[in-house]
């Protein structure tokens, strides 16, 4: 065999060669000092290059665009798609070369994709409720012409658990007339009463335009959460819509027929939607904070896994053989021909540290002949020359015995019962 080229040695170290190729190369290296030297050199370059590439780890800090730098919650409807567009284009336009573009696909991909669909689901829900609110306002306008001065169609806010005055206020700004009508038809004192059945009342004087303007201004100033406002507006408007429709159909029957529970259900749905949105935001913030964690922890964990998890890949590693040897070298170590298991073909033989062979002299290497059974489990036949004064294996131990000057031991990846069967075949 000619000398080994560097590419082959790298392929060997990368585990890309077949077993027979490995055997050939190892046999060659055992007999060729130049190739042995080259292998050591290649190992050095191999390890050093891997270390250098490993230096270029991704920064532990999240990228500027994924940093959790959101002091306030993003406006509703600001989906990842929206976020990825605007700042990036601004950066390009302004000519900033390394201006970080916003996140397209985040690092915690599974959450973000799911989050996108969840947000779209809620966006659809809010759109439907806002649309219903708009329709309600339109119908309300027409119904006002029909029933002006006859009915107070809806009572609001008396038992709503979530929609406080502050949260209803922006709805007034958003949804326009529907909520304003409700606000001016229900006096504050009555709104605290538990009864919510619509009733026939005398027409009330319309508030002065200045009062309405103040009310609207106050609601704008109090706006805290656009999403909550939209949802509340839609919900309230939907309730008004339902009530109005019932009134239009039969104003007399509306006194008893319009169920409070219907409006209550809608409010509860809105409250549920708000709670879901809050939860979404919390999860979003948690994901951003998680991205900011020091990746060193992750690397440590991976390193620990790497230390704990991998089983030796090569048969030599599994057998604990630190140097493969041939028959001649084994005979030289033992001072006589090596023992074998009759009827089995050895995979290879090599030297093992004495401390790794139970019962052997730990200061000297042990010759290990390695076999494998039909299930590819390794079987070892360890042999070590007994020095004068060294104790011989106890007779009770069926897997350790001596023949002449040689101490033998059977071991491996199979059970003791199976190993005992091989003892009679050792020659």
């Amino acid at each position: 065999m000619s000398h080994l080229d560097e590419g082959t040695l790298h392929a060997l170290l990368d585990g890309e060669l077949d077993l027979h190729e490995v055997k050939e190369i190892q046999a060659h290296i055992g007999s060729c000092a130049a190739c042995g030297t080259r292998l050591r050199e290649v190992k050095e370059f191999h390890g050093e290059a891997d270390r250098l590439v490993g230096v270029l780890e991704l920064p532990s800090a999240p990228s500027r665009r994924t940093a959790p730098a959101e002091p306030a919650p993003a406006p509703f409807g600001d989906s990842p798609v929206d976020r990825r567009r605007t700042p990036r284009n601004d950066a390009r336009i302004s000519g900033q070369v390394n201006e970080p573009p916003p996140l397209l696909l985040p690092e915690s991909s599974s959450y973000q994709r799911g989050g996108f669909f969840r947000r779209m689901r809620w966006a659809a829900l809010v759109l439907v409720t806002v649309g219903a609110g708009y329709m309600a306002s339109q119908m309300r306008r027409s119904s006002n012409y029909a029933f002006q001065g006859e009915l107070v169609p809806v009572r609001l806010g008396d038992s709503t658990p979530v929609l406080s005055e502050e949260e209803r206020s922006p709805a007034a700004a958003k949804s326009g007339e529907s909520l304003q009508v409700a606000a001016r038809t229900v006096p504050p004192a009555e709104s605290k009463a538990p009864a919510a059945v619509p009733r026939r009342v005398a027409p009330r004087p319309q508030p002065a335009p200045r009062e309405l303007a103040q009310e609207s201004g106050a609601t704008s100033a109090d706006r805290r959460d656009e999403k909550a406002g939209l949802a509340a507006a839609g919900t309230v408007a939907a309730a008004a819509n339902d009530t109005d429709r019932a009134n239009e159909a039969d104003p007399e029957a509306a006194d008893e027929a319009v169920p409070e529970s219907q409006g209550q259900n809608v409010r509860e749905e809105a409250a549920l939607a708000l709670r879901e949105l809050d939860r979404e935001r919390q999860v979003e913030r948690a994901a951003a904070a998680t991205a900011a964690l020091d990746s060193a922890k992750t690397r440590d964990a991976m390193a620990r896994q790497a230390v704990a998890a991998p089983a030796p890949r090569t048969p030599e590693q599994r057998a604990g053989v630190y140097l493969r040897i041939g028959l001649d070298e084994a005979a030289k170590q033992l001072g006589r021909p090596v023992h074998v298991i009759e009827g089995m073909s050895p995979m290879f033989m090599g030297l093992v540290l004495g401390k790794n062979s139970p019962g052997a002299d730990p200061t000297r290497p042990v010759v290990r002949v390695v076999y494998h059974d039909s299930q590819s489990r390794l079987i070892f036949l360890d042999q070590q020359r007994i020095r004068p004064g060294q104790s011989t294996p106890p007779a009770a131990d069926q897997l350790r015995w001596s023949q002449g000057e040689i101490a033998l031991r059977l071991g491996g990846e199979v059970g003791a019962d199976i190993l005992r069967n091989y003892r009679g075949r050792v020659r």
Binding site: A11, D14, V53, L56, S63, L105, S109, R113, D294
Partner: protein, 166 residues
């Protein structure tokens, strides 16, 4: 289709970004390029995804580099990012120095050697490297051997230069 893409994304996105970061030295750019790669995967779902994704990503790096040069910008291959702000100023300085030296050494490799090395660092087998870079499988070992040797030699040459200079 969507499920397949989601699986591809989960499986390969971190590795792709890491490789692109090592290649470009800019995390944001690496993420952009990875996203562009997956966008292309949506348009034309690949049969053999890993080599395909990495080949497309490396092509994008090359195209992006050419555009950057055309616009007169300077590639920031040697730029070290502020990676570990908690490590203390000395450690941070040393680390940034080390990163810059490795990047400089990596920049001295030719394109193919560098890409082979980076793909190997992402756990690619010789088959996949050959498929991604359009090489014969038998040439991968030689390519990697040359790449590793040159990287280490270039890195050590800087050390020698520093010692002489000091």
């Amino acid at each position: 289709m969507t499920a397949d893409l989601a699986r591809l994304f989960d499986e390969y996105y971190p590795s792709l970004v890491r490789m692109l970061y090592r290649r470009t030295g800019d995390r944001d750019r690496a993420e952009d390029l990875a996203q562009e790669t997956f966008a292309r995967a949506v348009a034309a779902p690949p049969d053999n995804p890993r080599p395909w994704l990495f080949a497309v990503a490396l092509n994008l790096v090359r195209e992006d580099g050419r555009r950057t040069v055309t616009r007169g910008r300077r590639l920031e291959l040697l730029r070290g990012e502020q990676d570990r702000p908690t490590a203390g100023p000395d450690a941070e300085f040393e680390r940034n120095e080390e990163v810059a030296r490795v990047r400089a050494a990596l920049a001295r490799l030719n394109e193919r050697d560098r890409e082979a090395l980076l793909l190997k660092a992402e756990g690619f087998g010789y088959d996949e490297i050959a498929s991604t870079l359009g090489l014969a499988k038998g040439a991968v070992g030689t390519t990697l051997a040359r790449a590793r040797r040159r990287l280490v030699e270039a890195y050590r040459a800087q050390d020698r230069g520093n010692n002489v200079a000091s």
